[in-house]
Chain length 405, copies 2
């Protein structure tokens, strides 16, 4: 008898008929002789509505109150799922973050899980009752208030629960049937990947393939949780995340990702002195802004440099505020921003041992007359920033050239 | 420096602009030098939406899950109110039922408050922070799950909080500016009552004047909480509930109420034997159905009787089910129901010491050719069931005759 954590995302519980469908999948897993623990997101759209309500008071953002408001969505979905299961004759009971408890740090609205008191979960399993756990939410033990883990946090909840109760598998039900070699909406012959390494998935997730929250992949890798991404509509086997060692044939390139959520900030004519990078990134880090690519270039005069960094479009306003507030300390002359950018990345375990992948990527983009603004690389991925308008043609050309179709 | 509990009902927080308006009223009370504790309902309409969602699974009603779902509304409103207050420079923090905790019995979906741990409320007041308490919800200490107190329960939450922290006053902000001698939509010259005794208000509330939940009035009376009902739009003084002794001139009749939510069940030709009433009302009581008026009449044959009782229309289906299921034990021949009924009541402390009020009421109705089906009386009220279609004419005639205009 196995122990399976099933996580249902917002689109998989977005209305009563989807909730009933999810409960059939839960029932089917139980009928295969396994114990099931459910983790659920809020009904699709609900959390957005709550975020919009809260935004009316954004001038005085109180993360603790924001968490109180936005966590209500998971409270609703787990209640409804439990009712539905009981209606089908399957014993089930909802568990909210504070009831388990799932204990987080004090970082309201972007909390990290510290520990999960698994006793309450295991007790229900023993009583043949399916625990239906509210994703996304936890409790700050210092003030006894609800914390949330940032958008997409339910994936992390599910993997954390699976790690804590040592589940045999964590199935993430979503509206796609797995991880693809590229976005099927752009590349018609994109293929579903059956098995992918944690490392590759990590790159995929952080590069804009929105199948899994990055943190959930990191956690799955750290605790060696076997994660499967699959569709709640078809219920067919999807993509399974496994350790690198378990992948025999390491593809040179596993997939091409893209993200149109990037933008650039360039600081012009800074003094070329030690410590300048720290002066730029300290205020950004304090404002919780993640910087992605960083490029430092010479300037017209030899004593001056330009500094370019890319970040998420949603952080642009806040980042510009930070830069302007620290203009004197950093000592730049002016700021240029570029919002019409896209990041294209190729990911593959094989890159670790094969050279020439980057060169091939650059040649292909050049042949399509696509200009590269910034390049960044890791052991298993290469990312480039290009003009947003070239996204589709770049992705298609790379997908074909690396024979992923 | 006084201590005031302010309760805002659903219509008083139904959108962002109403929430801002409520926060101005809170601010004004604070500026008068008083400490304020806020209790809030869900935004108007929200709880109905949740109830409808839950009704999709009504075949297997799980009160614990129902409570988990429907309590989400107050969680949202208290978060938003706290943000708004903080935005205005007033320190405030939301408190959910389980955080205080407000401890209830185990009766999910119709819980009763057992005790309120007032420490967390008083601590915030001491820190000059306004506690913004979620109404309607509490916690069942035996299973660590959320309980709710039935529709309108936020009134009871507010009065219970006021009693527990010994507040000087409990202001119930709603969409009407007080308690009227009759429904102003029917009686044009109905007058606002400035002061009303708990006893009279109790009759008003249970007779269909939906200004306050009956339980909240009972609780206010028991703990001697000074309650004021007033409008969140005007903010002007409304109706204050006081002890009978504090009302010098006891009006013969304080007001006329009506309710169109009544219906009748008549059981025909029962054996006239001891214990028959118990046989009828035991199953109804077990099904949590409140019976209002009861009449037993002779039948054609001397050995048989008819039994009529009135109840809320919402309970009719369930009551008929109970009667038919127990047909053999009760031993009736057939059931007649009448759904087109209204209850008209006159309420007044003066009735305790004056006679002739009932006679006057009956004469007035007779003069309007309105037939009375059932009569019931208490020390301070007389209720009659009449045909629903005569409601308006009966209320107007009585309001004029008892000189309430």
């Amino acid at each position: 008898m196995g122990l399976i954590v099933q996580k249902y995302g917002g689109t998989s519980v977005k209305n009563i008929s989807k909730i009933k469908k999810a409960c059939l999948l839960i029932s089917a897993e139980k009928n295969r002789g396994n114990n099931v623990v459910v983790v659920a997101s809020a009904m699709a759209g609900y959390t957005n509505t709550m975020v919009k309500l809260a935004e009316n008071f954004s001038k005085c953002f109180i993360p603790e109150e924001y968490d109180t408001v936005v966590s209500s969505g998971e409270q609703i979905s787990v209640g409804l799922i439990s009712m539905c299961l009981n209606g089908m004759g399957i014993k089930a009971r909802s568990l909210l973050g504070w009831q388990i408890p799932i204990v987080s740090d004090e970082n309201h609205s972007k909390a990290k899980i510290i520990r999960i008191e698994k006793k309450s979960i295991l007790k229900l399993i023993k009583e043949d009752t399916i625990p239906v756990i509210a994703g996304f939410q936890s409790i700050n033990p210092y003030n006894n208030r609800i914390t949330t883990m940032g958008r997409g946090g339910s994936d992390t909840s599910a993997v954390a629960v699976a790690a804590s109760i040592k589940a045999d598998r964590c199935d993430i039900y979503t509206d796609v049937d797995g991880v693809y070699t590229s976005d099927p909406r752009i590349v018609k012959n994109a293929k579903k990947i059956d098995r992918i390494s944690y490392e590759e998935m990590l790159e995929f997730a952080s590069l804009g393939a929105k199948v899994l929250q990055t943190r959930s992949v990191e956690m799955a890798m750290r605790y060696n949780v076997k994660v499967q991404v699959l569709s709640s509509t078809s219920g067919k086997p999807g993509t399974t995340l496994v350790k690198e060692e378990k992948i025999m044939e390491k593809a040179l390139v596993s997939g091409i990702t893209h993200s149109k959520e990037e933008c650039n900030i360039t600081l012009i004519n800074l003094q070329d002195k030690p410590g300048i990078a720290a002066k730029i990134f300290t205020p950004l880090s304090k404002a919780n802004i993640n910087v992605d690519m960083i490029v430092q270039t010479g300037s017209e005069s030899r004593k001056h440099i330009n500094f370019t960094f890319s970040l998420s479009k949603t952080d642009l306003k806040s980042a510009l505020g930070q830069m302007n507030a620290n203009k004197k300390i950093i000592g730049f002359q002016k700021i240029i921003t570029n919002k019409k950018l896209a990041k294209i990345s190729i990911v593959g375990l094989g890159m670790k041992t094969h050279s020439g992948v980057a060169q091939k990527m650059f040649s292909i983009l050049a042949s399509k007359k696509i200009n590269i603004h910034v390049i960044s690389t890791s052991e298993i991925k290469i990312s480039v920033l290009i003009d947003e308008k070239s996204t589709e043609s770049a992705v298609r050309a790379l997908h074909t050239a690396f024979k992923l179709g």
